[in-house]
Point group: C2
Chain length 336, copies 2
DNA sequence: CACGATATTGAAAACGTTTGCGAAGATCGT
DNA sequence: ACGATCTTCGCAAACGTTTTCAATATCGTG
């Protein structure tokens, strides 16, 4: 695995390696004919600049770190895709790290990335406590938080308007005539979830509905957990006491769908259902979940934008972007 | 963003920076009391070793490149997750690159990674022609091909036994009494797909079934394309002339499900359906697609294993691993 | 007490680039 | 024709580590 270096091509070109560097980097202070000659030669010799050496001297790697829970989570992989895409056109590569939504792991991962001298980090924090763990390193590497509000407002983040999201869902449900609506999912552990629950509650107040919750005791949402909770709910009552369910998450909603299916209930005939996130599962045939969309592409674009700004101008300070959610109506809701 | 270097801690510790390096790297040739003192100090000063400097001297980055079509494809994201997991425990980080299944983009991406001095590359090639493009760089960076057989057997790859996979599906269908089975999907453009189609054909011979194909004219499979082709098929005949469909891919199968749904046909009542890949969509409630599983975790494990072997012993040569597929029976098939 | 062995440390080279500075030659205006 | 400016290039320092080699201090042993 012998690699040809800049010195090698300098030697056969009969010039100093500074000249080779200049020829390849598009520097103006070099003769056009030598440039062409060197470019040609280095191509023939199969020279590829060693970017780790370059990084060392220019003090920048052109690498972003992306830390998220698990890349096989559909929401995360969608974000990752767009982040990579936008980063790439701006000349950055991506170092991908799964935190497994574990705090220790997340912190270790983060530290690893700063050791690797990444120019910036985009993180989908695993929960409210992520921030405290990461805080010590924060002034060492520019960082953008995605998809989670922060209590400490002196950091940059981009999220969707979670409050407004559930509010929109509730408005839709209300317009369909629903008066008995259950909120299904986590209410704490992350500000995101708090806000979603708040949006629901506020909507209840507005429409004169008595709020009702089924809390998840688990730390993160998944199909299986949604399923278990829903089964418990159905079985305890023999029926559902509500005409609609507002789920905190699409994955939770999928769990509900599964439970309903097994329990012989159909959606939206027996009850209406709204999810949140619009993961790509939701648009699948037979699923057709009405949901609140997080604009993932736009969020990713904003995140890399904010990050690059912060890198090029460290004095830029923090900024918050709360993106607009939107209602994706499919066929999991019906009038009462 | 001032970072503290090894020299800084050496200075305040009053030792040479060689000593600091030794203290932190666990070298034996250093006094135990100085080691402790330096460890403590460097922690206080918030020192994080600069791994790009380290990489430059030790000539290895401990980074793998992972290039795949699109990370938001469920199959790819699953592979990526496991690759990251296995790589991590072995001390490697992952640089993620989407090729968009575009040959030019793929090649550029690949070259970028070798420039970044990654220790190895794991690639899910976008098609048969990927290999020719990448070949020139192949002796520069150890590379493992995943999920695609190669015509040039002198390279290392790991795939599932695609031939056997469709064969298993057909055997299952046959055991259910099906005699008229349609193969739905691509038959060329990748050896993977050729083999799947061959498995189907061979099974037909074995069971005395006349093979029938619906080719996709498109380069890669997706729900939408499966849907369009299926709709065309249904509409042209007014009915399906087969009792079962063997789809080349789960995503294709999902397209079929969608079309069937719209067309008022139900599965498995009107026809049975088998997919391939077992992407996590397939197990979703209401979808419940019977399919052939690729052991993604195991494949990822083997890939990083092979890669690390190749790195530690460059003389190791190539190796091929064809993993066992398995039939996941859910509820998209029924006896005729 | 002397001497070789051993433990601990420092000095310096090396990794492959970029870039400021200076030198040499070419070009130019007067 | 001559000084001035410009162009093109080489030299060498720098980036932050690891690691070899030599130097010094410590120690046990005869």
């Amino acid at each position: 695995m012998k690699k040809v270096t800049i010195k090698d091509v300098a030697k056969v070109a009969g010039v100093s390696y500074a000249t080779v560097s200049r020829a390849l980097s598009g520097s103006p202070e070099i003769g056009e004919e030598t440039r062409q000659r060197i470019i040609k030669l280095s191509k023939e010799m199969g020279y590829t600049p060693n970017s780790v050496a370059r990084s060392l001297v220019v003090q920048s790697t052109n690498i972003f770190g992306l830390v998220l829970g698990r890349i096989n989570n559909p929401f995360m992989s969608e974000i990752a895709f767009y982040v990579e895409k936008h980063a790439r056109v701006r000349g950055y590569n991506l170092m991908l790290c799964n935190s497994g939504s574990d705090l220790d792991h997340e912190e270790e991962t983060y530290r690893l990335l700063v050791g690797r001298q990444v120019d910036g980090i985009i993180i989908i924090p695993s929960g409210v406590h992520s921030y405290e763990r990461i805080k010590p390193y924060l002034d060492t590497t520019p960082t953008i938080f995605v998809s989670e509000n922060l209590r400490d407002l002196r950091q940059s983040y981009v999220t969707v308007d979670n409050y407004k999201g559930t509010m929109m869902g509730m408005e839709y449900l209300h317009s369909l005539g629903h008066k008995k609506i259950l909120y299904f999912g986590r209410r704490m552990g992350s500000i995101t979830h708090q806000l979603r629950a708040q949006g629901y509650e506020e909507a209840c107040n507005k429409f004169g509905i008595t709020p009702a919750f089924v809390d998840s005791h688990y730390t993160h949402s998944s199909i299986k957990k949604g399923y278990l909770i829903a089964m418990e709910l159905f079985q305890s009552q023999g029926h559902l006491g509500y005409t609609a369910i507002m789920a905190s998450t699409d994955t939770m909603a999928l769990g509900i769908i599964k439970a309903a299916d097994e329990f012989g209930m159909s959606i939206p005939e027996d009850f209406s259902l709204i999810g949140f996130d619009n993961i790509n599962f939701s648009g699948l045939p037979k699923i057709n979940l009405t949901t609140i969309e997080q604009p993932k592409n736009a969020m990713a674009a904003v995140a890399v934008d904010m990050l690059i700004n912060k890198i090029t101008d460290p004095a830029v300070g923090y900024s918050h972007r709360i993106m607009e959610p939107s209602l994706i109506v499919r066929s999991s809701c019906a009038p009462v």
